[in-house]
Symmetry: C2
């Protein structure tokens, strides 16, 4: 997949870890949930393609996300591969109990930078949600379980408009002080542009948050995800969230469609000579296979181009 | 359209000129040509949105591009606005005569960086095509008509694979030595990544080509167009080609779909505080209107997001 040449760009990292969010973030929004065996095969295909971090599912109450009500059954079917992390979303201590019982070693909690989205997504204020997560994070860390903190609406919020960087920094600092090991900055409605990305990353590092703990989670709602990713890489970020085939979005955010497609990200990283360990061809085959199961084509430009070319 | 904030990124230009290629490059590939009055309205809407460069049509023989066989009638219908340039594609001296007779003051010639594409698109070698264009450019310049030179396949070619930067530099130097006033670097099949862009721009400026004369023309086939644009802006480029609603591609290049959508570009530039003079709302209205006429939705992410939101 490097037939068109590899040319590095100075100042970029040599290696990027992709956090593949397709099975959880990608599928949590489906009108008709997929059978658990399809989800298990999806995850195994993603690992076979070379992914080392695959977010598998969520222990949010099935009333809120019925699509992932099979979390326990799904985890029971997986064979955890060596060197691969399988984070699951955990909203509270009960969720953590269930996850730990199934051998989970990586969890994720999800906070919001804005009050409106915290209320809509978590039915709590930002403060209340942090209070809810604190004992989860503390206990997870005691068990040596890694904790990724998602922070939503880091750039704009459909109800509140522009989100000030300082607001994001404040919540981020509290999450990291709580013991979270990684911070994923979500542009939940896809409105960011590269200057905003650079400014926010600068504010976070100035506030003492290590860039090596920061992931970016861009949505392609306005086509900006890869340009924003480039700006983040230029700022030293080495962890990028993406979703195979561009699956998913957020069910509670207006116009929040379009996770960055892992294939489009891979095309960029491969061309830049940045190592990921992920095989683009295998990933495209997986996304084509998933598109057949969902009954609709992938929105990924790269999947569209290469699926067409080779079939 | 700046509800989500403007944040500049250091090292970028304060102003970018967009070369809107929708009416020519966008429509030359349509299975059913549009009525001439729709094309004229399209161009007038683009100018009303604030565009100062709108590529209108082509004097290529109608046998090759029947979609633009109405070039003379279309130009006759336009009222050329002050301060707006309306370049037309001109392949030879006969085309130049026809264009000059209609008051055209900006033309474009189109060359290829690769032999295979020169043969397929122009039925000539690269040398032969340059020989064909030389007298066109010379006479246009004598008449004080500006000449944009398109250079196709600057990064990859579906038949030849990776295209070396030196090959592009060689052809570019000959075009500029001939008297062309602007050079548009085409990633005709959309395979470039930001390192390639920076390397090619570096090679061109090292060869003495002024960055102020260089435009970039990216295709979004693999989702890379805006990230590549960012890399070009970081290298000093101030002219960017784009197509309203992402119309078009190239009829002769395998998998060459997806001109960069002007709306996606505008979202990025507006967020970066880079002036263009183009009104995003008016442009989206125009692309929605055009999509109705073509009977299919725009592939632009920004058009999709905002057309959905506000209707």
């Amino acid at each position: 997949m490097t037939a068109y040449g590899v040319t590095p760009l100075s100042g970029l990292p040599a290696r990027v870890t992709i956090c593949e969010v397709g099975p959880r973030d990608g599928l949590q929004n489906e009108a008709r949930p997929l059978p658990v065996e399809v989800k298990a095969e999806f995850i195994e295909r993603l690992v076979d393609a070379g992914h080392t971090v695959v977010e598998t599912t969520s222990f949010v109450h099935p009333r809120w996300v019925p699509q992932l009500a099979d979390a326990e059954e799904l985890l029971g079917r997986l064979t955890f591969a060596d060197g691969v992390r399988y984070p699951v979303l955990v909203p509270n201590e009960r969720g953590l109990d269930r996850a730990l019982a199934l051998g989970v070693r990586d969890i994720a909690v999800f906070a919001s930078a804005t009050e409106t989205f915290a209320r809509r997504n978590l039915n709590r204020t930002v403060d209340e949600s942090l209070t809810m997560f604190a004992p989860v994070v503390e206990r997870a860390r005691r068990e040596d379980v890694r904790v990724r903190a998602y922070l939503s609406m880091c750039f704009g919020d459909p109800w509140e408009g522009e989100v000030p960087a300082q607001r994001v920094v404040d919540v981020a600092k509290r999450l990291m002080a709580m013991g979270c090991t990684e911070l994923s900055l979500g542009d939940t409605i896809g409105v960011a542009t590269p200057g905003r990305v650079a400014a926010l990353l600068g504010a976070l590092t100035s506030a003492g948050i290590g860039i090596e703990t920061v992931a970016v989670h861009f949505h392609d709602t306005y086509g900006q995800a890869l340009a924003n990713t480039l700006a983040a890489l230029q700022h030293g970020v080495t962890i990028v969230d993406a979703s195979a085939g561009g699956l998913g979005g957020c069910p509670y955010a207006k116009s929040a469609t379009g996770n960055l497609a892992t294939e489009d990200l891979l095309w960029q990283l491969a061309g830049l000579g940045i190592e990921t360990g992920v095989d683009l061809r295998k990933l495209i085959d997986t996304s084509v296979w998933m598109a057949e199961r969902l009954g609709r084509p992938s929105p990924s430009r790269t999947v569209t181009a290469l699926a067409k070319e080779n079939r």
